[in-house]
């Protein structure tokens, strides 16, 4: 009976080993000796995957600087060099990992003079035999600092805030392929609206958008070599608003990594350089779309962009 039980346990263990055999894990030190499984490393090379965060949380003590550019839309072609000579959006940010599994960031965006603070925490790490996926929480709070002396833009200071919360679930399927899915919720304190009824019997207000917006992103990386990878990402809005529904986002590009930098060059629809703003207000469709004058345009509206990260660790 004992022997049968031992066989069963042995079978399950060997099945587990087979299941996760393709994971990159710590190398077994001594053949046959029991070694505690270690979390899978380098599911992604950077904290960024184009406009989204990856599941990666940098190692304790890492200091990083980010420079991000999104150029103009490519639809004008040669006249503005496919958007490269058009007005661009820029974000400069820094981040630091004060303890293991936690990463804090701050940045300033040209668009809306938006300051953002963010926190990222690794809740679970993909570990052979223990967890098939890694899970990370990401939260971003942004504050619009545009001047508004006449209060045309913001009736209250709290209207300047925008919050974004996301759970990132990722799996490294092999040394080359990693995928992640990330549901998110964005909250805006103020939405535009107008009275549809405002008399002695009461008030009814039509709100153009809802305060909370749900979305989901699906992203992947495929390594072409130790330093080069292909990136693909898609963001789908879920919440339906009365008007001003944001467009989805499709982006794709390349990542080049060195010991101290990652450089991502890509095309996509998002241009606002803030996860909440992008999810709520993206007006660039990845598919055929209709302009305000009723003209049907084929092929979507894309921008070229890049992310540069510099690591000090």
């Amino acid at each position: 009976m004992l022997t049968a039980g031992a066989c069963l346990v042995s079978c399950i263990l060997s099945f587990e080993t087979t299941t996760y055999a393709q994971d990159t894990t710590a190398v077994v030190k001594e053949a046959g000796a029991p070694v505690k499984a270690k979390p899978v490393k380098n599911t992604f090379q950077s904290i960024w995957l184009i406009d989204n965060q990856t599941v990666m949380v940098p190692f304790k003590g890492t200091f990083e600087m980010d420079i991000q550019h999104r150029f103009g839309t490519v639809d004008k072609g040669y006249s503005d060099l496919w958007g490269l000579y058009a007005s661009s959006n820029i974000r400069i940010g820094v981040g630091y990992a004060p303890i293991n599994n936690l990463y804090l960031g701050i940045g300033l965006n040209k668009y809306d003079e938006l300051w953002d603070v963010s926190a990222k925490y690794a809740l679970l790490k993909q570990t052979p035999g223990e967890s098939p996926v890694s899970i990370t929480y990401y939260g971003d709070l942004s504050y619009d600092t545009r001047k508004d002396a006449t209060k045309d833009l913001f009736a209250h200071q709290s209207d300047r805030f925008l919050s974004f919360n996301q759970i990132i679930i990722a799996r490294k399927f092999s040394d080359k392929l990693s995928l992640q899915v990330a549901p998110s919720i964005t909250h805006q304190n103020a939405v535009n609206g107008y009275y549809t009824k405002n008399d002695s019997t009461g008030q009814t207000i039509f709100e153009e958008m809802k305060h909370d917006h749900f979305a989901v992103s699906v992203s992947g990386r495929y390594k072409l070599s130790d330093a080069t990878a292909v990136l693909v990402n898609y963001d789908q809005p879920i919440t339906k608003h009365a008007t001003n529904n944001p467009s989805p986002n499709l982006s794709f590009g390349f990542e080049f990594a060195t010991s101290g930098h990652t450089f991502q060059l890509f095309m996509g629809n998002y241009s606002l350089l803030n996860p909440g703003k992008n999810n709520l207000f993206n007006a660039n469709s990845p598919f055929n779309y209709t302009q305000a004058d009723g003209t049907r345009v084929k092929g979507g509206k894309f921008v070229i962009g890049f992310n540069i990260t510099r690591l000090w660790n």
Partner: protein
């Protein structure tokens, strides 16, 4: 005549100056604490370990030390210190523990990789890969 003499003197002076400021490239000794030098490599040089080490080498080391360890990486010419030829000589005769220590701590142009490669097993895998560079 005077001009010729001045030119000849200037040429000699210039030659002397050139020789005076030419330094002979010598590898500065890199002492490793005995305790570290004697550390045994706990990671066997398996196929997986060497592949892992190679991947780390390509990302972190190849730009200075070269793809094959000859010290001919694209950044090597900009460094104050010429990266050592990792395929022979002292680079290969030193102990695994010594290589581990040097990667971990760094010195001068060579940065410390303690935080970039936080898992010691990965660092040992890199040592295993460096052993395969031997010619």
């Amino acid at each position: 005549m005077k001009i010729k003499l001045m030119l000849a003197t200037s040429a000699i002076a210039a030659s002397v100056m050139c020789v005076a400021f030419t330094t002979v490239q010598q590898t500065k000794p890199w002492p490793v604490p005995e305790k570290n030098a004697k550390m045994a490599n706990p990671v066997k040089p398996s196929k997986e370990s060497i592949a892992n080490g190679k991947s780390l080498w390509n990302l972190h080391c190849a730009s200075c030390h070269g793809k094959t360890g000859l010290g001919d990486g694209s950044k090597a010419a900009q460094l104050k210190t010429q990266p050592e030829d990792m395929t022979k000589g002292t680079a290969q005769t030193q102990s695994d523990g010594s290589i581990f220590y040097k990667i971990s701590e760094g010195r001068d142009d060579m940065p410390s990789f303690k935080k970039k490669i936080p898992d010691p097993d990965d660092m040992w895998s890199l040592v295993n890969f460096i052993r395969t560079l031997k010619k």
